[in-house]
């Protein structure tokens, strides 16, 4: 049975929270601050080899032959690997396996992986890669999404049933959209563009693999999805999964960029098998750019109809999504691009038509706010245009169309808690909106936007009825509680969150808890750190396991003291007899008493989503047990001479259900907002006309420094979700979305131009200002 049925948002002992909601330290922060924390590249095994990959210099080509003989002959080379040795395809979504570890028949983008070498050191491996001779036959390069749409031949993937370059097409209509146009008081229709951006976690991907003489494989990898990597290894290496152990050490940031299985995980495993020695592969920063899986660029057309009072009557969307060379999460992206827009506003009628195409570019995937950041940008700008045209305050129009709580969206998503109105109130007040909007001097302005996001999804990637998250507790005679969780802590603090939940539920101090995470040999399965699912699902599983353990302790101690169970209380690691002040037990003593009664102590907990989603094909994709809500207000200063946009301050209010640790929640809100704001004009994952990346380095791809980052004020709104762990929902992805349209809308307030194509470069600002001046002059 699922944990959600058994506990709600209240404090477990009925007299307020002791751990939850407090600014507790993270379980791993001090280790990180002192340099002790081990990341994958910090691992060095005896006798370890280093490996490198040969990558394609062509965007689209057939491989006619690969000759590795010279590389193999080089001194210091221990193993060479080519694609034909691992012919089985994989992909994170089991319906679309279209990736090979190394190219078998063709290459699909510049940087696609062709061969790999393990050698005594990196320099030798690089030298050996250069000795590999590959004969290519060039094919037409599909550079843009439009080109892909009209160019079925050559198909980038020619083993699919349909010969074309369409990766996925989804068209869904709810209500009757076209019928609204005639009756509408206002129709606003425009094109929007969201460019590609990438995660740029500061830690490059890295993997270390070793095959024992017993035929067992151990892989350490900087991944967000230990479980899926485990499954993919088993599939591609054709190995019994029970003989594979995947361990995620500390991860230096993910943001969705480490949530696919990546070639280096298979390559190191296979090279280790071939060489009989442990093998490491560390990608260069340049290689990380080629791995990408970042934000899909989207060309979007939106049409919104409204009544004169601002009520939205329909929304119609058509999207063209550039998927790059492989599917990755593309099936989900295509659905998310439409499915996640149906809140925080009520859409009485809604249609979306999304097409994801393959191009000869590095594959796109799930970047923070997967698939829904782009449509959110377009729609929030369009909603602002509706407000302007109807002369309604942009915050008011958002209130007016509020979806409500405990309701269902037009596409069948169940909404429980919803703190969106409180978010709007919070940013309105904090930003002093009323005295600023339309009242600031020319060049400065303020804008608002709102959004919602999932807290996990009930779509488990591969169909199964097992729990989506599992947690196991070991209670030791020393007084220590060890929590085993499959959850991937990628810096967001999930290990700490698990410790807080267990501590709260058991009545003990987080200091007496140790969390062992993301090791497939030791930990029960969790599906991974994606879709903002970890707090909600792993948190609930942790509470479930801890509650079972606490019940045992209470029962054993009650029997020991010969009192009713209601008289036993554990507070901060000490067990009290409420009937007798004199009688207490330490945590350790209580564990002994419990072990005497129940034998060796352990418990398990799990979480699975309820049945959710609309009753139609794809109706479960994007359906979540709870949704988070966000609102941003941005204040900008536009230099009308240079076209430069300075974002002065961003206020962001986020409904995270309950803040399990307000410091960590604020960190997520601030980090998300920073990352979103950076997509407005700084970051651009750009290719040239040959499909070659324009500048795969941290110098050319401009992620913000301290000097480029606006002041961010994070405001927490707590709607207390009925099913979240103590009422919590996600905080790690939602607060990115509306940062971008809030800036766009602020630019309109500042200088009266509507920018609809990201990124907003100074040139675009100047062109729009010029156009505006010409229109004004003509009038």
């Amino acid at each position: 049975m699922a944990a959600r049925d058994k506990h709600g948002p209240d404090a477990p002992w009925g007299d307020g929270f002791k751990v939850i909601g407090k600014p507790n330290r993270k379980v791993d922060a001090l280790a990180k601050a002192t340099g002790e924390a081990i990341y994958t590249d910090d691992i060095s095994l005896p006798n370890m080899l280093h490996s490198k990959t040969l990558r394609s210099p062509h965007a689209h080509a057939k491989i006619l032959s690969i000759d590795t003989s010279k590389a193999e002959a080089l001194e210091g080379v221990y193993a060479v690997l080519v694609g034909s040795e691992l012919p089985i395809k994989y992909g994170v979504i089991p319906w679309t396996p279209d990736e090979n570890v190394l190219a078998t028949d063709k290459v699909r983008f510049i940087g696609d992986e062709v061969a790999a070498v393990a050698a005594i050191d990196e320099d030798t491996a690089i030298e050996a890669c250069e000795l590999i001779e590959v004969e290519y036959e060039l094919l037409e390069t599909i550079v843009t999404a439009e080109q892909a749409l009209v160019t079925p031949e050559p198909p980038i993937h020619d083993d699919r049933k349909k010969r074309n370059n369409i990766s996925k097409h989804v068209e869904l209509e709810f209500g009757d959209v076209d019928a609204q146009v005639d009756d509408a008081d206002l129709v606003v229709e425009n094109d929007y563009y969201f460019h590609s951006t990438t995660h740029t976690a500061i830690e490059p991907h890295c993997a270390v693999a070793t095959f024992g003489n017993d035929g067992r494989l151990t892989l350490w990898s900087s991944t967000q999805i230990t479980h899926y990597v485990h499954r993919a290894l088993s599939r591609v290496l054709e190995m019994d999964p029970a003989k594979i152990r995947v361990i995620q050490p500390n991860v230096g940031g993910g943001f969705g960029g480490k949530s696919d299985p990546f070639a280096l995980e298979f390559i190191t495993a296979m090279l280790s098998k071939k060489s009989g020695r442990p093998v490491k592969m560390l990608w260069t920063r340049e290689e990380v750019f080629y791995a990408h899986r970042g934000r899909h660029s989207m060309q979007m057309h939106y049409r919104t109809t409204a009544k004169s009072d601002g009520t939205i009557t329909s929304v119609d969307a058509k999207l063209l999504i550039d998927g790059g060379a492989y599917s990755s999460f593309g099936l989900v992206t295509t659905y998310y691009s439409g499915q996640l827009l149906t809140g925080p506003y009520a859409f009485p009628n809604y249609r979306f038509d999304s097409t994801r195409v393959f191009t000869n570019r590095p594959p796109c995937g799930p970047k923070r706010g997967h698939g829904s950041v782009q449509p959110r940008f377009a729609f929030e700008v369009q909603l602002d245009e509706v407000a302007t045209k109807l002369d309604i305050d942009p915050i008011e129009i958002r209130r007016k169309n509020f979806l409500g709580e405990n309701t269902t969206t037009i596409n069948g998503q169940r909404i429980t808690s919803n703190g969106f109105l409180e978010c709007l109130d919070a940013v309105e007040e904090a930003s002093d909106w009323k005295s600023k909007h339309r009242k600031m001097r020319y060049g400065t302005g303020i804008g608002v936007a709102g959004s919602m996001y999932i807290s996990g999804t009930n779509y488990p990637v591969y169909p199964n009825k097992m729990p989506q998250a599992g947690v196991q507790l070991k209670v030791d005679r020393s007084g220590l509680v060890t929590v085993f969780t499959g959850g991937n802590d990628i810096g967001q603090g999930s290990n700490s969150m698990v410790a807080y939940c267990v501590a709260e539920e058991m009545g003990i101090n987080p200091d007496s808890i140790k969390v062992v995470a993301a090791d497939t040999d030791l930990c029960p399965v969790d599906l991974g750190a994606y879709s903002s699912r970890v707090t909600f699902m792993v948190g609930n599983a942790a509470i479930d396991a801890a509650r079972k353990m606490r019940n045992k302790i209470v029962e054993a101690v009650a029997e020991h003291w010969k009192v009713e169970k209601e008289s036993v209380r554990i507070i901060d690691g000490t067990v009290y007899n409420l009937d007798n002040d004199e009688e207490t037990l330490s945590q350790r003593e209580a564990f002994h008493v419990t072990e005497e009664k129940f034998d060796t102590l352990g418990s398990t907990g799990s979480y699975n989503t309820p049945t959710l989603g609309g009753d139609y094909r794809g109706g479960t994709i994007g359906s979540s047990p709870a949704y988070s809500f966000t609102s941003h207000v941005a204040e900008v200063d536009i230099d009308t001479e240079t076209g430069e946009i300075e974002v002065k301050k961003i206020w962001v209010a986020h409904d995270c259900g309950r803040a399990l640790n307000p410091i960590l929640v604020k960190g997520q809100i601030e980090g998300s907002t920073y990352m979103g704001a950076a997509e407005v004009s700084l970051e651009n994952y750009e290719m040239n006309r040959f499909s070659l990346h324009a500048g795969p380095s941290l110098l050319d791809y401009r992620i913000p420094t301290t000097l480029d980052t606006a002041e961010i004020e994070a405001l927490i709104v707590e709607s207390i979700d009925p099913e979240g762990p103590y009422g919590a929902k996600e905080a790690g992805e939602g607060p990115l979305h509306s940062a971008i349209p809030a800036v766009a809308n602020a630019i309109y307030d500042a200088v009266g131009i509507r920018l609809r194509e990201l990124p907003f470069t100074p040139a675009k600002v100047l062109a729009a200002l010029k156009e505006k001046d010409e229109v004004t002059a003509d009038a």
Partner: protein
């Protein structure tokens, strides 16, 4: 191969390494001082920042032969220094980063902390702008920097109160 004579965190070490190795490679792969991180190997990210005679430097751009006579401090050295000064556990600044929630993935933090430490040593009462300037070469992809400023500010405040940095 060549032998480098280095002074690292108060220890004098002789390390044999390929001539072209950077200081970062020596630290991480020859000495096992893996606290300094490599995010780009090109001088763009700051995660490899160490102090050389008290000045923050990007160890991925430093050839070890150029710093043989100098005192190199890495993230591992901060707590060591703090304890030899009579303190306990981690340094004030490291603790402040922990308390402020400034550490998410933690990968930028060794470099960030080394830059911040150098700032506090030269300016015990930095304002927000001083902090931004001092940390402008250290990219953090997780935090949005706000909690990092808070950490440095609170360490400066506590350092002032306790008469140490």
């Amino acid at each position: 191969m060549r032998v480098f004579h280095l002074k690292i965190n108060g220890d004098t070490v002789d390390v044999a390494a390929p001539e072209h190795y950077t200081l970062l490679e020596i630290l991480r792969y020859e000495l096992g001082l893996t606290g300094s991180k490599q995010g780009c190997d090109k001088g763009d990210c700051g995660s490899c920042t160490v102090q050389v005679d008290g000045v923050p430097m990007l160890s991925c751009l430093v050839l070890p032969s150029t710093v043989e006579s100098k005192a190199i401090t890495t993230i591992e050295g901060l707590a060591v220094q703090h304890r030899s000064d009579g303190g306990e556990g981690a340094s004030l600044l490291q603790n402040a980063f922990d308390a402020a929630g400034a550490l998410q993935c933690g990968f930028c933090q060794p470099g960030m902390i080394m830059s911040a430490q150098a700032l506090l040593e030269s300016n015990a009462t930095p304002n927000r702008d001083d902090i931004k300037q001092a940390l402008a070469g250290n990219l953090c992809r997780c935090t949005g920097y706000t909690q990092i400023y808070t950490a440095v500010e609170s360490a400066a405040k506590d350092g002032g109160e306790n008469g140490c940095s």
